[in-house]
């Protein structure tokens, strides 16, 4: 009866992540945290914000790709993630048109 056989058992998980790789990623994440705290004490002027966000984004990418194993998921999973990210970015960009001109202009 259930006619969606073409989709069943998609979650095959050929990839069986190892302990070691995850620990490595964790070490990288800890190192990046240390880096961002260190950088924060250096005055980079206007770049402070961007550097902090850059490091946070790298960390986020690592968590999403490895810990949340998007890297090993199929194209559908990746594309919906991308779509969500796109909407979020678009909201920020559109919103900036108002903010920058109202508060700083």
């Amino acid at each position: 009866m259930s006619g969606h056989n073409e989709h069943t058992s998609v979650d095959t998980h050929e990839h069986l992540p190892s302990y070691g790789k995850n620990v490595m990623i964790w070490l990288v994440l800890v190192a990046l945290t240390a880096l961002t705290v260190t950088v924060a004490s250096v005055d980079l002027g206007n770049y402070t914000f961007f550097v902090a966000m850059l490091i946070a984004s790298i960390k986020a990418m690592l968590v999403i790709n490895i810990f949340m194993h998007i890297k090993y998921d199929d194209i559908l999973m990746k594309s919906i993630l991308l779509a969500c990210g796109l909407v979020f970015t678009v909201i920020f960009i559109m919103y900036s048109f108002d903010l920058f001109n109202r508060y700083t202009g």
Partner: protein, 226 residues
């Protein structure tokens, strides 16, 4: 709030029927779609991201409106506390992953151990947060306080308002994640979650990583940018 329901319901079709023990149609309905559950979980995570998104949008708006007040207010937050909490959450993310890896490698004991450790880190985070908040409240910095309303500039009021809202909402998610872990623990013990059917634990893991992910951004935004 409904994470558990996504996990539970996404997975609900493992056992027979739709709740119809019916006489007219003898039909045993096996429908198990692990991929579908995970897909649903990701969609739910998007809604969580967007929920925080509203707050990030506000944070960003007021950051541009009051750059100097933000700067001054951020000085008052304790970097060490923030950094420790970051490490706690990062490590808990790792142990969560390890718990799933262990389960899939059929070592139930190891899996349960890592789950308990993760729960412990979650609790540590909350305790830290408690001390951090009480220190702030002790100094008269909390929403609606006289200190904030009367002596601080508008930007600082907004900054601390957002600080309480965002870390508060985040801590709420940490607690929900811990409750989910308790359920996972029980399910692993009873064998409902096992090395073959581990999607519930995996979804719980996804949720926990999201909590970590949001903190990764909250930490620099509140503690570091000054």
């Amino acid at each position: 709030m409904s994470t558990t329901s996504v996990d539970a319901h996404g997975h609900s079709n493992n056992h027979a029927g739709h709740g119809y023990g019916d006489n007219n149609q003898l039909y045993v309905h096996f429908h198990r779609d692990d991929y579908g559950s995970k897909f649903g979980m990701w969609l739910f995570l998007f809604t969580e991201v967007l929920l925080f998104g509203g707050l990030f949008v506000l944070y960003y708006g007021y950051r541009i409106a009051y750059p100097h007040d933000y700067h001054n207010a951020a000085m008052e937050l304790n970097i060490v506390m923030g950094a420790v909490n970051t490490l706690v959450l990062l490590t808990s993310s790792l142990t969560m992953v390890l718990s799933i890896v262990a389960l899939r490698r059929k070592s139930i004991k190891t899996s349960l151990f890592y789950l308990i450790v993760t729960f412990g880190f979650g609790a540590t985070f909350c305790v830290n947060k408690y001390f951090e908040w009480s220190a702030k409240i002790h100094h008269g910095i909390f929403p609606g306080s006289m200190e904030l309303r009367e002596t601080r500039p508008a930007g600082e009021v907004v900054f601390f308002g957002l600080y309480y809202l965002m870390t508060g909402l985040h801590t709420f998610h940490v607690i929900v994640g811990m409750v989910v872990m308790v359920f996972c623990f029980i399910f692993i013990r009873t064998g409902t979650i096992n090395s073959d059917k581990y999607i519930v634990l995996e979804n719980a893991g996804l949720y926990w990583h999201l909590v970590d992910l949001i903190w990764i951004f909250l930490f620099p935004l509140f503690y570091l940018l000054h």
